[in-house]
Symmetry: C2
C-alpha cells in the first residue's frame, strides 16, 4: 500500500492512497449530454451545464490513467423490455416527462443497445477500465460495483458525472454507507440547473464534514 497524500477540500483534508483509489465517471451518456440525445432533443433541456464539465472530466481521466487509478464508467440503463426497472422508477420518470424507453432521435431513452444510452464519444474507455450498466440511481444497486471495488482493494472513490443531485449524490451516499471514502469533484459534476447541482453540494457539505468531502479537480490534478 502506497503512502497517502492529502487533498484539500472545502472542509477537512482528504487522505488518499492512489493504489486504493478508483475514479467513477457517472452516466456521461448521449441521452443526457448529446445535442441529439433525449434530454436536449426531446425534452428541450439546456444541456450546456452538462457539456461544460466534459473537458475537465477528460483531464481527470487522463490523470487517473497516468497514476494507475482505476477508471469506472457507469450508464443508467435498462433492458429493452424494462424488466429491470422498478415500477416506482417508471412512474417517477413518467411524472418527470421522460418515460423510460420513450423514443428519441438516438433510440429509446436509456435502453441498452441504443445510441442514446451509450457513453458520449468524448469518453473512450480502455479495455482495462470498467463499464457498468445500472438500473437505479445508486451505482451500487443491482450491479457488481461493490464486488469490483473489493476485488481491486479499492477504498477511496473520486466522483464525477451527471447529474449531481440524482445519480452522483445517490451513488456517493451509498458508497459512504458501505464504508468507502468518497471525494466529489464539484467542477466535474453537473445538473440541468445550478440550483439542483448546488443542493447536492450543500447536502454533502452538511454537518461540517459528517456526510462527505467536496473539492475541485485542480486539487486532484496537482497530485
Amino acid at each position: 500500500m502506497s503512502s497517502s497524500m492529502l487533498i484539500q477540500t472545502h472542509q477537512h483534508p482528504f487522505a488518499i492512497a492512489l493504489d486504493r483509489t478508483a475514479l467513477l465517471v457517472i452516466d456521461l451518456q448521449n441521452d443526457f449530454c448529446h445535442p441529439d440525445g433525449f434530454c436536449s432533443s426531446v425534452m428541450g433541456a439546456d444541456i450546456a451545464p452538462l457539456r461544460n464539465i466534459i473537458p475537465r472530466v477528460q483531464a481527470v481521466i487522463d490523470w487517473a490513467r497516468q497514476h494507475g487509478v482505476l477508471v469506472i464508467y457507469t450508464r443508467e440503463s435498462h433492458k429493452p423490455d424494462l424488466s429491470d426497472a422498478a415500477p416506482s422508477k417508471k412512474l417517477r420518470y413518467e411524472n418527470a416527462g421522460y418515460p423510460l424507453g420513450a423514443p428519441g432521435k438516438l433510440g429509446r431513452f436509456l435502453i441498452q443497445g441504443e445510441r442514446g444510452c451509450a457513453l458520449i464519444d468524448e469518453l473512450q474507455p480502455l479495455e482495462t477500465e470498467v463499464q457498468l450498466d445500472k438500473p437505479a440511481h445508486s451505482a451500487f444497486v443491482s450491479t457488481a460495483l461493490e464486488a469490483v471495488l473489493r476485488q481491486h482493494n479499492i477504498t477511496h472513490l473520486l466522483f464525477t458525472g451527471v447529474t449531481t443531485e440524482c445519480c452522483v449524490l445517490g451513488s456517493y451516499r451509498h458508497a459512504s454507507d458501505l464504508g468507502f471514502y468518497g471525494l466529489l469533484l464539484e467542477d466535474c459534476c453537473a445538473a440541468l440547473s445550478l440550483q439542483e447541482h448546488q443542493a447536492a453540494i450543500d447536502v454533502l457539505l452538511g454537518e461540517n464534514g459528517a456526510i462527505g468531502w467536496v473539492t475541485s479537480s485542480d486539487r486532484v490534478l496537482a497530485l
Copy 2:
C-alpha cells in the same frame, strides 16, 4: 389490497394504499433532540429546529396507528466497541467534531444502551411496532429493514425524522432505488440549519419528480 388514495405533493400526486404503507420515524434520539443530548449539551447546537417537528411527528404516528399503518423507528447507533462503524464514518464524525462514542451527559454518543442513544421520551413505540438500530445513514444498510418491509408487503413509505439531509435523505434515496415509493413529509423532518434541510428538499424536488415526492403532514392527516 385496499384501493389507493391520492395525496397532493409539491409536484405529482402520490397514490397510496394504506395497507401497504409504513411510516418511518428516523433517528429521533436524545443525542440529537434532547437538551442534555450530545448535539445540544456537548456541541452547543441549537436543537430547536429538531424539537419543533416532534408534535407533528406524534400526530402522524397517531394517524398511522388509527389507520393500521406500520410504524418503524430507527436509531443511528453502534456497539460499544464500535466494531460496526466503518473507519470512514468514524473519520467523518471526528472531522465534524462529534466522534462516535465520545462522552456526553447522557452517555457515549450514539452508543447502544446509553440514554443519549435512546428514542426521545415523546415517542413511545407499541410492542407491535418496529425498532431498528442502524450503523449507516441509510436505514437499509446492515439492517433487516428491507426484509421487514417485504414481510409486511410494504411498498410505500412515509419519511419523517432527522436530519433531513443526512439519514432521512440517505434512507429515502436508497428506498427509491430498492423500488419503494417514498413520500417525504417536509414539516416532519428537520436539520440543524434551514439551509441543510432545504438542500435535501431541493434534491428530492429535482428533475421534476424523477427523484421523489415531497408533501406536508396535513395532506396525510386529511386522509
